[in-house]
Amino acid sequence: MEDVVLKVKNLNVEFGDEKIIEDLSFQVKRGEFFIILGANGAGKTTLFKALLGLIPYKGEIIFDLKNLKIGYLPERLSRAKFKELPISIKEFYKFKEDSIEKISEMLKFVGLKEQKFLEREPGSLSSGQFQRMLIGWVLLGDPQILFFDEPTTGIDIGGEETIYFLLQKIWQEKKLTILLITHDLNVVYGYSTNVLCLYKKGLCSGPPREVLTPELLERLYGSKIKFYKHIH
């Protein structure tokens, strides 16, 4: 049996009287590229926050990992926040990692190769560079499981592809378990091993080519959606 690293059973999350997530159960296996798909307001970010223990929930969330180390990239971490701060990328990375060598290595890994990036201010990077810098930061400290919440929001189309390419490189080279929230169906077909379609209880779960039927996508997004499966 493949080992399960995350098991969620009968998860319920409420804000006041509103049920955001209802009786949701699923599991994630080691080394999976697991995508959570759903329309705006379907509860994707809420699900992440519950899994990370950032909001109260009912039900079971079990991580089966020794010395659990999680890497998390929240949605819409803005460059604007960094622009107000006098801080270099080196200093930001030092919050998590003391060794300059490891910091330089990580910056290279995410494609910020030149030495000058160490001293650059995060607020002065382009949107794509900024997001890659954040992904590198998330990877510091050798996390075993990664949570990415819409990492391409606000990035132009060319930049989006390089971000997804980077995530795939992380998945392949570092053999990590990745959970990714997106509404980009291209990514789902291109990269994921399993997909969870979220609408409160969860509408589907399984490999994307098996579970994502046109009828289901219509229910998920609420309108006719045109998408043609890539044939590789």
């Binding site: 929240p74 960094f82 006098p86 270099s88 919050f95 001293e119």
Partner: protein, 254 residues
């Protein structure tokens, strides 16, 4: 040079430096102005201390703590924002303070009087100043991280609530210590001006925070020297020296 002068100089150096350092964190968290109402809240306690001849620092600290407790309590009773509640409580605190403040000593309460500083004040400034400095140094990077994203800090294992509490206690301590030097009117200045000036000189966090500390110390030394030379009150002179450094920093803006 007389002992009293040296004591007041040492006291101002410690409080000015640590206030600048702490202020550098407050500016990044957009909390720079909190030092104002907190300082004003000290007035009733300072007035009582002047009447009953106990230490102004103690009066200021108790008064600020009581004010903060009232704000917290009202917060649990209404849906009003903290900002609105702080406004109500600090205004009431200042009004109450003015009713009981002996007018002959109003100047000391409002703008401080370093000639009243003794050995106990200096010892307190050194001990508490160092303690606050070390605490803030310890929580600095995690507080910055929490300012960027609280979720990011919490998933990294940072107990944000605990850190916020330590941070607020540090602010209250420094504001209470400041009263003796710059009075209740100017507590915000020692927190904001050195950090604002340092921001203009700096592009890295380490330079910014250490710069605020150094500018706080320089303002304190020069302000007290100007006081010695001119006889004008030291508090406003320290603030004006800081302001001058801030104006100079504008030409170096990075």
């Amino acid at each position: 040079m007389d002992i009293q002068f040296i004591l007041s100089l040492i006291t101002a150096i410690f409080i000015g430096g640590v206030a600048g350092y702490l202020g550098s964190l407050m500016i990044t968290k957009k909390m720079a102005l909190v030092g104002g109402p907190l300082g004003h809240l000290a007035l009733p306690g300072v007035a009582l201390a002047l009447i009953y001849h106990y230490d102004i620092f103690l009066g200021a600290l108790l008064s600020i703590a009581a004010g903060a407790a009232v704000i917290w309590f009202l917060g649990t009773k209404t849906k009003l924002s903290m900002e609105a509640l702080t406004g109500v409580v600090f205004a009431a605190g200042v009004a109450l303070g003015f009713l009981i403040l002996p007018l002959s000593r109003a100047k000391e309460a409002l703008i401080g009087d370093i000639t009243k500083i003794g050995l106990i004040d200096t010892s307190l400034a050194i001990i508490l100043g160092l303690a606050v400095f070390l605490l803030i140094k310890k929580i600095y990077s995690n507080m910055i991280l929490a300012g960027i994203s609280e979720d990011l800090a919490r998933t990294g294992g940072v107990n944000v609530k605990k850190y916020n509490f330590i941070y607020l206690v540090c602010i209250a301590l420094i504001v209470a210590l400041e009263v003796k030097i710059v009075g209740i009117l100017f507590t915000v200045a020692l927190l904001v001006i050195p950090a604002a000036a340092s921001r203009n000189f700096s592009r890295t966090l380490s330079r910014y925070s250490s710069g605020a500390l150094v500018i706080g110390i320089i303002s304190a030394i020069l302000g007290i020297l100007f006081f010695k030379l001119s006889g004008f009150p030291a508090g406003p002179l320290i603030i004006l020296t800081g302001t001058l450094i801030f104006i100079i920093s504008l030409f170096f803006k990075k």
